[in-house]
Symmetry: C3
């Protein structure tokens, strides 16, 4: 009968924004994934809806083209009963040169309480979060971070492996890590879960990762960096192939797509080095024949479609958690604004 | 009291997809039009809504610009209570080169059960239907097919004429048949109803139709092909003017738009050759002064606005029928997928 | 007990369309602002919604890029329970050259009862209103008019000043009046309220305003035109800085943006000439450092964010009023249409 040992001890979500996975403790990660389980149950029940965000304005502001992430957030927000507004940069005042701060203030004055933002400039959602009175969710900023992708990847891995314990399991992030916000956000979550993470690709696409690996993620959690694809794949439990962003390849970092495919593309032969039931992930959209061969992409180990489906449940979880943090009486508010 | 003569004998809708009108029997066509009548009643009742597609994800994927067809499907799906997502190619991963198969799988994983698809490549919706676990509705693919347009044209003709019996009535399809998915899909439905169909235009824009007319639609149903506009219009009950797609006219198939208008444009003088109460159709958007003169387009015989209004009711019918076919226990499912 | 003195005497809204503020009497303006007060109360109550436009089709047709105005109308229409369709010119048949009249007829046949329209050509919404059977709301046409902006500016001014009486108060419209629909619509409402309006800017950007000032707004209501920014700002109660439309500056009307900023930009020094509690407005998006300095834009006198928030309430008011005018039995209907 000690009240102190009651439910008050259950870890609570404390983040008003979700800008990257670096701020998430293991408890935080478990809260997201447990909430996502509940959301997946809702999605699996035909016609069932939640009222969690009834009357809450969710604005989805995308400054980069995207089908899957934009639609995923839109479906998630609507399934929670939110009032959803979508703004694409091409048709927005952004094309008139309005600043991020002005856009953020404007969207808030128009009723947004949660702002889901994708931007080509690393750090843009942090700038928005300094101004915005509600919650900001980073849906991908430049090369920097894509936190909901890392969380949906984690849910996909755990469900495919049938375990929540990734300690010591070998996870390979393969390809263009340099330009990848997916790689960076995954490094935080995967090392937090104790996975043995390897980052593998051609040397010019690994710039900066050696130094990070030596320093450790969060100053302590080591990972391995290598250009040796066979060494990386040997015994791997999970292989995450990264997209080669053709549009970012002007700088002469790669000799050719054909050579990339020959040396680092995820083929059936290469995948044979991994564990027999290794899980293959890709954040999509895939360049089949470049970073992944079509038979692997469509093969039985591929969890690409699972990732998309898990994305909706994970984003419902994140939206409802940050919205709860705004509504909570003791939530840290924004600085008083003029 | 013979159970065999009960309602079980009423023809049932059996199509999970609607990719073209070639697969529709007369019974199928009647089912669509009868259902459209019910939908039109709903639309005519202010504030009335249906729950037919409550909780069903309908994704509208347009790879070509369109106002009327895109909005028509969107209004139709929302009036049925569906969860509607719109994806325009310009702002989608398609611009990153994602394949039709990947896009289709992604949209399904995001919750789509009905996929409404417009694509500049003939046959693209067939490819999507091979992969997609729900229902695909073709909203226009290349020069090939536009089934809901043919069905709304049929509803418009029947209501304007005040009869469901088109046997022996002369229907003229006038203009650029070569590039027209509207012409092709209409040939299937109109000949199925027994209409006396004439296809008329400059010879280069009739390529392939002579051979089809000789073989017969479905191998049996003949129609007439001619370059003689007076012969075509004489005694016509219905005249359907086709859009001259200026953007497709690079190949030197026509001397000039002015000459086209002079020789084949639907003017009041030409229309005087048809029956006094002949119905004028156009799939829109119209190039007034080219394939149709402004006074005909806005005149009392023009059913162009009726076509648009009928489009919503017909699309509600099609969406509800294919959604019913997915839900039906004995619906033919997709091939098992890896 | 004289029936004639009953509520029938309260002024009633009589406008089916809102194309500009020139047709609004003082009574009309008060009806809009009083209705906006009620709408603001609804918006301030979490989760509260109205059913005023339940089952009413509202189509938002934008032929120019815009975030704030498009989203503002969309949020307003949804908060009233309307069925909202958004059409952007880039993805519409307009890119196929369809005429305004055809587009208008098509959208009506698709179910639109209220058409909110932005168009780069002055007068386009008037053309639409001649054809459309419902109500047309001008959301900005060329250089001509932006009536909801003028009404939200008025609400913002009155609430900031804490009074509904603007008689004799000095209001300065500063900058590129020539290209500004915002300036023109504000001149009607502000002079109707008795304000002492000054229009100030470089001479080439004031073309036509001298003659209008001499003739008087509505033939009677004078205002002042000057190139002398100090004279204009001295003792001002309200300063409305106009956007310099860089994209419209090809004609050599201005030496440079830098020179414009130096001579007419709203700086803290210049603003010190106005009353101590003067209100600063800007229709947005702002070019900070050009027509307004960042410290003024973000300073305590700036009402820019208020303007955005007031826009939603004012647009809810306008949408509900024009929709009421359509529904009213004695509303003047459109001319009978063929």
């Amino acid at each position: 009968m000690t009240p102190a040992s009651g439910p008050a001890e259950a870890p609570r979500w404390r983040h008003r924004h979700l800008l990257d996975t670096d701020v998430l403790s293991l408890d935080d990660i478990e809260i997201v994934l447990r909430t996502a389980d509940e959301m997946a149950d809702v999605l699996a029940t035909p016609g069932r809806r939640l009222d969690t965000l009834r009357g809450v304005g969710v604005t989805i502001l995308f400054h980069e083209a995207s089908t899957r992430t934009r639609v995923s957030f839109e479906v998630a927000a609507k399934a929670l009963g939110a009032d959803v507004v979508s703004v694409a940069a091409a048709s927005s005042s952004v094309s008139k040169g309005e600043s991020i701060v002005d856009t953020t203030r404007t969207l808030e004055a128009l009723g947004a309480r949660v702002l889901v933002m994708r931007h080509p400039v690393s750090g843009a959602p942090y700038l928005a979060a300094e101004t915005f009175g509600g919650a900001v969710v980073n849906a991908g900023d430049g090369w920097h971070a894509h936190p909901t992708q890392a969380l949906l990847d984690l849910r996909t891995i755990r469900r495919r492996l049938g375990t929540t314990d990734l300690r010591g399991r070998k996870v390979v992030i393969l390809g263009d890590a340099l330009h990848s916000r997916v790689a960076r956000s995954n490094l935080w979550t995967l090392t937090a879960c104790g996975a043995d993470v390897w980052v593998c690709g051609p040397a010019p696409l690994l710039r900066g990762f050696e130094a990070w690996a030596t320093a450790g993620v969060g100053g302590t959690r080591r990972f391995t960096v290598t250009t040796d694809v066979a060494a990386a794949l040997r015994g791997a439990t999970v292989v995450m192939a990264l997209r080669i962003q053709k549009e970012r390849m002007g700088a002469g970092l790669l000799p050719s797509l054909r050579e990339y495919a020959a040396r680092y593309g995820l083929s059936r032969e290469r995948l044979a080095l991994a564990e027999p039931d290794a899980v293959v992930l890709h954040p999509g959209p895939m360049n089949e024949g470049v970073e992944i061969e079509p038979d692997v992409a469509a093969g039985p180990r591929s969890a690409v479609t699972d990732q998309v489906a898990n994305g909706v449940a994970v984003r419902m979880a994140v939206l409802s958690l940050v919205a709860g943090a705004i509504a909570a009486p003791d939530a840290p508010g924004p600085a008083a604004r003029a």
